[in-house]
Symmetry: D2
Subunit: 487 residues, 4 copies
């Protein structure tokens, strides 16, 4: 093909700006297409995938056992070197564009002829899909390790907040009293669900190696053998991952990447909501939570100021991960089947989302580890807001009052308090209670026993249902978490 | 609380616009907060959740068996009426705001006192979370039914396209030859994965009923009993769904809704990519696919024009579902724990996404059912693009040529063709093949047998690896699909 | 073209599900493609655009003056009927698919032959682009009217809050003291900028009528004449809108729609931030703001509870508008040039975003109109947080202390307070101030005059810079707003 | 405040993981909050803003003229050093966190006391808002320079494609014939609009300097003076930028950043659509466009393959910019007023979006500069698709046939062609034309003259309306563009 650009140059004016563009773009063009500056992070997975592939080639007679040994040793050597040098490994050359070519070229340079056989029955299209899948599996495992610390931090805080009674909030308005630790465990639950989603997702990833460029191969390759090797090597989560059933789909889809980033975005969402909650709790007006000074920024002028910058950044970075997810999904919107170069961007987005979330999780663990509820600030306010109203209604239910009727009676009692200038239901007398019951044509009558159902501390201890935010259900949750985490 | 708005009215000018606002907003305010106009669609789930709840209350002695029977009968009667009247059911009153209050109010109107006991130990917060979860489970089942038709349409088309050889595309450039049916099955795979994601997700939803407003209950309720009832009633996918472990988390999270809409967005993505592919295939220039006239718009002026409007709309509506997903995720960004009214919007987004996807799936099934590859148009073009180049390289591998060397040899052979004015590798003589092999210092020599590895039809038949896009692997895939779908 | 679907029917099993699909889809297909159910809202713009077009056709001799008069009268009659019947107008027939065909068909039915000439030199592609542009212009005008109320509500509240001193917040931590009204005006500024963005955008929309289907026309049409007519009719903002310069671009772009929805999303963002702020201010712990009961939901059980549901919904609906914007942008991602049917969805998204934002604005005006700061709650807390620290530093600057040094001195003074158990800088003696100055080797010495720079009320009155949140700058802002709104 | 973290350490097990967290987080924490690693790019704007601020301080008597000169000289020296060293400048120290503190600290180190006065009446909150605004203005100017090349590349290509007739497409189906250059100009129009949007936006940015931390200042500062200085220094677009009118709004808003990224996203959208179009045009099946080999990836095996990787990456990166926009908007969703640390992320997103778009624009200019239409491939296909049907209808309009009737007649003529095995309207005889006219009861009769309205080349030349895609209107557009760009 002749160079249309020469034909394009009509006038001398055109030439000059065209020339300027060309000069400017030569370097940019290479930077524009290369991916090794970020996809080098796939090197362990690239090596592992190649080792499994070589094993299969040997099993199918396309490599001798000696060739396989040579290739595997060469790859492992390269892996060790990159382990040591990371991005600075001299084999990462932009002109090879991506991690796959860098590793293969270096392998051939080192081991010669056998290296030229490694790519048999394989294409960069199934190779990158494989590497990416293996990377997300490893990343999910690393998240699991990180999570241990994160969850322990939350559970330890719940443990040391087991005797703090505080208001819970709906609509950011005071609702019912709870043990402070129960709210901490709520975040642990939500976060843990985020990890489990990723783990379950990883167990179903479909193994694409062997799909080739798009159509599979005319060689007698045994993809089951590759899958078996990968499982034996421990680079798949277990026995659940199936082979990708269509070579066309296997090279075109990025479901693995999207599921992974979605899972990260859900974790980010939980972290962001937690951060928002604590930012509110750290205001002068609430004053519920204290965290270590090193996770706030202070000011030499206003030393009382404890700006919760870390929490704000965690809240803000939720948005970054959302952006990465949306970018990835938009990337895939409406592109044709088969590999398209657009797909190269998936790694940039995925790595970024992963880095953001792991950093936020690490900071969250540290912040929570340093945090405590300010019991002395919280408890004096517990008589605001008739937090025991629901408890009283439920108490009435145990006296055979239908719930909707009980609900109405308590409403009347609260109004009675307000009229009488009493700020808590516990200030009413037994007679006052019974008068209202009588007004509602309810046969039940109360005794002193009713006061056991009133007051935030009493109420919190009375919760009975699984998962409730106080009493035995809370202690059961906490014990379960400690058992689960070996604390 | 006094009305600050009256204090606000300073000058007569202010009064008039303030008055105008008030007039304008009374109706708008009600419309602004009510949700029954769309959440009425939860009625079956609302009834089912209440039936399970009543069963538990009876088991715990908070309802008599008679009361439970009365309540259940009343609820089922209401359900049947709504089945018949749908949105027009007279019990749907905006002043009750939502489906839950409409049903409960009507129940009390009908059965009296026992109806007032139904809400015992329950809040709208756990109720709506339960209804939403049950709705997504039912919706997932309905998708399963719809999918049967969709997948059958794709598989039937694959079946009737089993003898069409066509180019596959990467980068939208001709790559290797495939059986046309294999590409059709690739879409089926991707779509099926979309359904399976939703099904697996539904199996892990955490059952929130019993979490109350936020803190659980002080009554001796047995949430395990409710869960057991729900499973026995068949409204949960199976035995896998756990109880939500934290009442606070259970009422604050919308993970169920987000996972569901994410699953829908992934299906929409696949549909959109398929639509894009076929829009390209339906151009005058490709001419690969024909679909029934009724799924195109024609023009009386340009009768040859077959605008693929339905496909374009399917492609476009991918965006709508993405928008719904991101609206839902943004909705949740940074909101505090506990129920917040923002969450009410989740249903609007979720229903919309579901409706869009089911309509697109229905249309897709119909379009595919009417579609065929234009074999007469496709096959004459198969000699363009050296589609058999990879096959030849793999053939050389079977003659002990290392793959990277084979790759290079084939490159030279293609250049040889171009120089000689030959447009296909099959036009080279055995001597020409062997000359190039000799040039590359490769010991192997070819015979007439090489021509079996050349030509699109030959190549397509030679594929051997699981999932490959032709030959036995394709026939195995097709047979597997037909077995799976009972075709 | 023969019906491939008949060829598709292989086995009887296939037939049955294929038949089922067909039955199911006939109605769905029509619903799938029609747009008149929502684009009927363009009727006034469709008529106006046609009137301008007819005027041009007459000016160019393609219509007689009589024909033009007949057409215009017919169109205006149709417009009046739709004004009265709205969506129920009998001319809206799904089989005509869209508003344009419904109006043209009805016109021809009424006026006969001249009606058949109206579409001369015009296509639905430029017609819908024109209608959409005119609609956004009208919508922007309606927003302007609505905004008058919204801004007046904010300014009136600022006016009645001119004597309330409150803390301002950065990082949600107490920062400097401000006049409460200044924060109210900040929202007004941000909102007003949102409207101005839309207005300026509308002034640059490029008029597409005359671009035809994609290529323009071979008839001697004068697009300048059409533009002139449109301007004379007052359906364009002024004299600024240019003709779209490329017929291809004019029919392919949706920049107008995206700019409009982006503008709406920015308004939604401001509303959502305002709502969040007030939700926080309405907590028991802050207690800064009261709004009318009718904009909260109360509970008969916890009558003190004022759930700010309206504000939460405004905050939540930010997300819906974001979703509409991103759906629209995703819709456009990667679609080819020229009209594609995907574009039809733009109106659905645009109308929805507009409706959401106008409803939220209406509610915001009403809520603000009813709101007041709770001076009695706020002022006693003003001595918390050394709000006057910055003021003191600036006071020192006026005594020739470099700002960074002053900053450090104040830090020391605050520490002095804390050590001495004093909670405010104003509790320090002049000697204590001067001792610290001396320690910092600063020549300046203070007198009693320093107390004028301390205390929230004093500080607030001292602000001098344009736009500052108290003192004369605040009064100037308020006066400016009142002048601007004729209050 | 005591360190709650010590209280947190209960058991030895807890200690160990808590200790592990602390170790891990010390480095991460600093990395988590610092921004200088990316916001150093603001250095020129930071210096310029400070110079303007110092000028105002001097004018207001808060700096002596000597102090101002010293400060300005120090800042300019620092600027020159960073010009040379860029990110490697030794003054960029993570412990100072951001660009503002790095520059100020270095200034004080160099010039001493006067440097301590620079921050008078200023906060990092208004400073960063100012820097960001100035940066987007500079970035918009750089885009303008880059755009010159981009637009010239498109216009030069339009110029050298002025004699290529090709089909236009709607719904990706052949519509009317056009001059190929007209489609190229359509992209230029859409791109140019993208730049103009940014330019107009920049002209309205509100200048925030002087807003302080949130409340303004009690010092006698003159913000008008600062604005005037900034305008005189040429760092604002012109005379249009107003002062930000509310100090609270000025420090809380990120409208400037969002408008800028939105403008970038719109450019990315256009680039992505253009890339998609050309990817389709570069298929074997279309074969319309050739670009230089260096902008494709070839394959040694399939040398005919020209994968349009650069175009695919441009298409894909649309998604990245969308993601950045969505991240930025989500970041702002629901955050309280005043500066929040979340806002720090804006720069990361904005820089990234800018870099992506400028790289894509640079590549686009280079690709277009090398591209040409393959006239030899395109023109033989022009008789497919009755591209002249609309032209014929318009020709009939000039013979007094109403357009809708003409439309119907042409439909009948096309059907006549198809029945007679003729593939083009030009193959019909005059008698055949007139027979159909007679059948439609139309008085007009045609002569040989009709053939001038038929055939793609004839039709293209006949376009008359402003902006049309051929004939004089195209030549006028082209001439206008060349004039505008000085070509």
């Amino acid at each position: 093909m002749s160079q249309p650009s020469s034909a394009a140059a009509g006038t001398s004016t055109e030439k000059s700006w065209q020339a300027r563009i060309s000069e400017a773009t030569d370097a940019i063009a290479q930077a524009f297409v290369e991916s090794v500056s970020y996809d080098w992070r796939l090197y362990k997975q690239d090596v592992a995938g190649s080792v499994a592939h070589a094993h299969m080639l040997a099993a199918c007679g396309l490599l001798t056992e000696d060739e396989r040994t040579t290739i595997t040793a060469g790859l492992r050597e390269i892996e060790r070197e990159i382990d040591a040098s990371q991005a600075a490994w001299p084999g990462f050359k932009p002109e090879y564009e991506d991690i796959h070519m860098c590793v293969e070229a270096e392998l051939i340079r080192r081991v010669g002829e056998p290296g030229r056989k490694l790519h048999t029955g394989r294409s960069r299209n199934d190779q990158v899909a494989t590497d990416l899948m293996l990377w997300t599996i490893d990343a999910t495992r690393e998240l699991g390790t990180l999570y241990e610390n994160v969850l322990k931090a939350f559970v330890a805080m719940a443990d040391r907040s087991a005797d703090v009674v505080m208001p819970s909030y709906t609509h950011l308005q005071r609702a019912q009293p709870i043990v402070a630790g129960a709210e901490v465990l709520a975040w642990a639950e939500a976060l843990a669900r985020g990890l489990e989603r990723l783990v379950r997702s990883a167990e179903r990833y479909e193994f694409p190696l062997g799909a080739g460029a798009i159509a599979g191969s005319s060689l007698p390759l045994d993809r089951k053998q590759t899958l078996w090797s990968a499982k034996r090597m421990g680079i798949l989560p277990g026995d659940t991952n199936p082979l990708a059933a269509s070579s066309i789909d296997a090279t075109a889809t990025r479901d693995t990447a999207v599921e992974f980033v979605f899972g990260l975005a859900m974790i980010a969402q939980t972290l962001g909501r937690w951060a928002e909650q604590w930012i509110i709790y750290m205001t002068t007006e609430f004053g519920f939570i204290k965290i270590a000074d090193r996770y706030t920024t202070s000011s030499s002028m206003m030393p009382q100021k404890r700006n919760p910058d870390m929490l704000e950044l965690i809240r803000g970075r939720t948005a970054n991960v959302y952006g990465d997810l949306f970018a990835l999904m938009t990337l895939l919107k409406g592109i044709p089947i088969g590999y398209n170069r657009d797909l190269q961007e998936d790694k940039r987005l995925l790595f970024r989302a992963y880095d953001t979330v792991t950093q936020c999780l690490t900071m969250a663990a540290a912040i929570v580890g340093s945090a405590s509820f300010d019991k002395a600030r919280i408890e004096p306010t517990l008589d605001r807001g008739f937090l025991d109203a629901t408890s009283l209604a439920e108490y009435l239910v145990t006296k055979a009052v239908p719930f909707r009727t009980a609900h109405h009676i308590v409403g009347t009692l609260v109004a009675t308090c307000e009229k009488a200038g009493k700020h808590a239901l516990g200030q009413l007398t037994v007679d006052e209670f019974n008068a209202v019951l009588a007004d509602h044509n309810v046969p039940a009558r109360l005794t002193d026993d009713v006061y056991k159902a009133l007051g935030a501390a009493n109420v919190t201890e009375r919760y009975q249902t699984i998962g409730a935010a106080g009493g035995k259900p809370f202690r059961d949750q906490l014990a379960g978490w400690k058992r689960r985490l070996g604390m």
